[in-house]
Symmetry: C2
Subunit: 748 residues, 2 copies
Amino acid sequence: MSETEKPKCHSLAKDEGLTNGGNIVSSNVSDEMTEKLDLATVYVSDAQYNRNIFFDTSPQAVRLYLLYNHWFMQTLVYVFIIINLALALFEDPAVVPLPIWATSTIEIVCLSAFTVRIVHYAKVIPKDKFWKDPKNICIIIIVTLSFIDLTIYGALKTSGYFAIRWSRVLRPLLLVNVTEGRQLRRAFRSIRNALPQISYVFLLFMFSVLVFSLMALKLFGKRGLFTIDGSPYFTDYLDIVFDLYVLVTTANSPDVMMPAYNYSVFFTIFFILYIVINTYTFMSFFLAVVYNNYKKYLKEEVRQLVKARRYKMCRAFSLLQETRGEGGEPVVTQAKWNHLVKLVKPNISIAHRELLWSVLDDQNKGHIGKFAFVQLADLLSIQVITVKSQAHPIQICFPSLYNSSASRFIRYMVHHRMFVYIYDLIILVNAVFIGLDEENPVVSNAEWGFLALYMLEIILKLYSTEPRAFFARHHFWNWFDTIIVVSALFGTIINSALKHSGGYTSRQILDIVFILRVLRLIRLVDSIKRFRSIINILIKIGPTILIFGQLIVVVYYIFAMVGMELFKGKVRFFEPNSTSPDQEYCGNPLLKGTTFAKLNYCKNNFNNVISSFIVLLELTVVNQWHDILYNYRSKSFILEAFLVEYTIDKSDLQTSLEKKIEELELNVQQDGMDTGLVDAMESNDSDLGSSEAGKQKPSLMFKIASRRSRTVDGLLQRMFETDLRPEDFNEEEEPENINFSNPVFDSV
Amino acid sequence: MSETEKPKCHSLAKDEGLTNGGNIVSSNVSDEMTEKLDLATVYVSDAQYNRNIFFDTSPQAVRLYLLYNHWFMQTLVYVFIIINLALALFEDPAVVPLPIWATSTIEIVCLSAFTVRIVHYAKVIPKDKFWKDPKNICIIIIVTLSFIDLTIYGALKTSGYFAIRWSRVLRPLLLVNVTEGRQLRRAFRSIRNALPQISYVFLLFMFSVLVFSLMALKLFGKRGLFTIDGSPYFTDYLDIVFDLYVLVTTANSPDVMMPAYNYSVFFTIFFILYIVINTYTFMSFFLAVVYNNYKKYLKEEVRQLVKARRYKMCRAFSLLQETRGEGGEPVVTQAKWNHLVKLVKPNISIAHRELLWSVLDDQNKGHIGKFAFVQLADLLSIQVITVKSQAHPIQICFPSLYNSSASRFIRYMVHHRMFVYIYDLIILVNAVFIGLDEENPVVSNAEWGFLALYMLEIILKLYSTEPRAFFARHHFWNWFDTIIVVSALFGTIINSALKHSGGYTSRQILDIVFILRVLRLIRLVDSIKRFRSIINILIKIGPTILIFGQLIVVVYYIFAMVGMELFKGKVRFFEPNSTSPDQEYCGNPLLKGTTFAKLNYCKNNFNNVISSFIVLLELTVVNQWHDILYNYRSKSFILEAFLVEYTIDKSDLQTSLEKKIEELELNVQQDGMDTGLVDAMESNDSDLGSSEAGKQKPSLMFKIASRRSRTVDGLLQRMFETDLRPEDFNEEEEPENINFSNPVFDSV
């Protein structure tokens, strides 16, 4: 692999004017070296986070670029986007009305922030690249239009004219077009790519519906049948099309079939055929086509991502490389590497850094070649938890007490399997008590008992496990338990205090207490190994589902804005105790006698942004067809993510890191891997002696974090890792025709 | 590959007492050779159809076995099974009542046929194998129990007692247990295998529903809310569980949410969370788990199938092999091979057989080794269509007329692309006319015009294409067109004759005519390339869907039998013009005032087998949960089948066969591959000269048939072909631990 690339990396170094790049061997870090390290840092972190921004390589631009990518700046951008989107809550038609001057001021602040951000971006990348990027043009247009709309709206409103805030539909597009929205852009892109294929199936499906409708018209239209409402059955072609279209979602089955069935049993053949062909076959076909296309395009995108990442690492290498001996391979020394890692990940522990180095520099040569260097970006994205084995605070303060036989017995008990079983039983009993009427004094008093038991559990566990280890960041269930129990305790106390003081019981507090009590039952899941693994999968694919949350917000927001302008006030909701005669028909005479009014759907309206979102959600849920694309696409994504989590082994790199940890005998016991406390306890309970007085553990241990906190990009890459290996790990030429929307590295 | 297997095949030959198996070189086919050929034939056809029956290898048993596998016997078995199942139509509660003696007689005939079949089977395979096979035991038990039940039922009925035909639930099990039901057994087996994994997800899902229900009870139970019917909202735990369970199918959304939403907008969060977690996430998870498990087990089964097939071919080879020269490889001569192929596929054309030989014997050596021989089973299952290029009958009878310039112009016209476009336009216009009121005289007369146009099209095509080629078995659309048009013509004539004669119009005939007219529109699909490919995929996966049809019949039949005994007569349907007061509540006072009666669902009852099937289908469609397994499993199967059809390339073997055909310059133009007439025309219309006076075509041509007629086994094998190659094509040891339900070849 390395033979063919040497010249390329050299030439890269030359391209950037670093002609003596291969010969710097100096212990003093010169200015030039600092700049190079800065640039290399940027390359590595770009590779790590899959950023594809063609920034200026001048030292000043690099420093600006580092600032641009600072987490604080990125968070700030999202805060402003959320504030901007949330303005819909306060603008007419509002949930909480605010005067126009207030919302306008907030909007101007947000828009200014976006302007500053885009100006910052313009300073980082070359001018020609900036204007070639549709994202930047989009943001500029959105901000400009919003300013114009705001001005017009303000002017019209103050002079008392009718005005529409039309630029509000543009707001969610910022989510897509900001630099950080690359995963969302990828999602939209793969929808767009899958569209042509899907549209053919969709057209054929529609053709099938139309043909069936025509047949239904001919078969039933002249028979004089009536529906249960007394209206004529299947006499109007367009009505039939709509009815049969709805039948695909099975929402009106079997009602739509009953008049024909009552007339003759043979007509059911028509409906059975329809359901088999359109509901089952076509829907499966849709799923297959979407899944297939989705996978295909995603694979290509990930391939490009990996290519770009390798190219960036190669650039970083060429900046830091030096040649050992005559005609030797270019290498990077440990000193420079350490410097680089410190810059890329400032809060990395020395131990962790040394672990990474020992993985890369297998033969302990003190320098690494390009092949090893390139792996750094991947290695950094594997979360390694550094566990410092510390003595329990009580053991330090009162060693004799902590090591007494009573104390040891308690700790043995807590770590015993039975302890878990007993508490599972307690939770089950608690579930029954929760189900009972809480106004019964026995039940409400029992709640105190349960709370005491749970508190005892947490205290006992804290006693037998080192508190900092107990509350380590990756111990999800410990945090969950503690928060739930402590909040429930406070809630119950407040509730009971309120009750005793004035007889007044706040329903809100009681609701929260109830929710907390029920949530406690989820703990049961953690005790059953199979369930725990399913839950872990669900938690792991959480971040990926979030991307689709964003996608849905973008789509819903646009529809909600349009819907609100079109339908606000058309349907009104009256409080149940209202005496208005309009209540019967939701305040709209057109709805008199409709099923909509009869079923009391009045609150399903577009009168404010929250109602609009709920209406849109209902439409999505019931008539899944209305956004089949998003639906199937997300289904297909979730399917793939599940399959990956369900089947794939750890990546090679992760395995090699684990091996190294084991080699160094610094591993935490494997059973506690990604399971949290309970498993760790289970593996500890074999005998008392070994866990206490056994061989001295090293004071520092590592373990690979559960993949819970992996990024979406990481998941994507893992999806296709096995498919990618052969072709992509050999070629490292510049990724020329990458079709990211971001500008790409073309030949400098 | 061949080095390691030689000894094995030799030892096999010895095992069967054929010690001189390697030395027979005789042109006269001796008795012993006939027997060997018979046995080899059986092995090859077993391999071809994936039969895994451990039959006796004595010449007599082999001949019996050949009879047992004769297509006529197999068809007969299915005919009797269908008759047996169809008896439910005539038995009480009957669709068409028949006296007990009639149905009993038919049933006795069927049961006797099954008995004969199982006795035949017992004669074919060794006794110990017969009694070890649960399938045989099942059949014997089913037949015995049916006889007993029939006797008891007859005795009780004649003496006037109440009696139940309980053995009817056993009938569909015959479908699963007959030798030919191996694909159905495989389907059931993979359901059973996937069950444990699925049940964990299901349990967790149920846990989630229960927890949510508990939360709903606590949040809404005490708030005094009411549903739209006026009943208290969410006060009973079990009702809540049911409501939320139904919400997963989105059937009662948004009604179930409205009371809470009307009370407070915050409660929608509860429902949104519920839908996101249970409807979307868990359902995707289910699909992923089912798909994954299904794929895993199927792969293993197919692996075993391929192994068994290779083993059988190896056995056949060892029967026919002879050694060329000293220490040479054992080979099979062309003469023997020809003999074998003629026995395996009696109606194979000589040309086809020689084509196959030339594929196997690449270097024209006159004999083939084991590696080539083993491929025979796969080669035979590729359908090759032998197209004899014959002159048009009119050309033979009236050559001058047929070759006149007018005739040539007509043929040129018919083959022109415009011809297709014009007829597409005609169909579209026809669609509009169908939609219009057919009692309008203009419309009904126009129908005659359309019929004439369609007849003209068929005649013109028959004139310009050789009729036998036009009606070749694989030209689906030609057959479709002709049948539809000719039947529509007859139907319209009969209908019009009836109308003119007595003024009486039979609705049935009119219905059929209408259906035929609408079906004609499907032709449009064939003109659009993309649509055609989708339709072809749908047709191709047809046979695989049929297996699931059988599976559903088995399940439905059992439920229908139980349902009929339990519920027959409980709900009655009254004709719409009936004046009975019971009509209001379906003849059951318990249903008075229920939604069931109000929506006029009376015909959804268990009063006969057809009604029962329709009720079960409705339950499947609306509450997809009731048989989530079958649903998801079939979905997962269809998904996989679609993906395979959508992505996979032709198998290597098929490609090599195609190459050979091309090499021999005997191929029909590739464009007409699996597309039928239209494509063939399109590729012909380039210029008049070449299609007429071009180079003389060979009188015999081959083409690979569309994979339309492939077997399910073939599809399955193709699914995993790429995955299977490395491990399975090297090892040919006996398939010892195959877990087929059929007895397997263990060491003789």
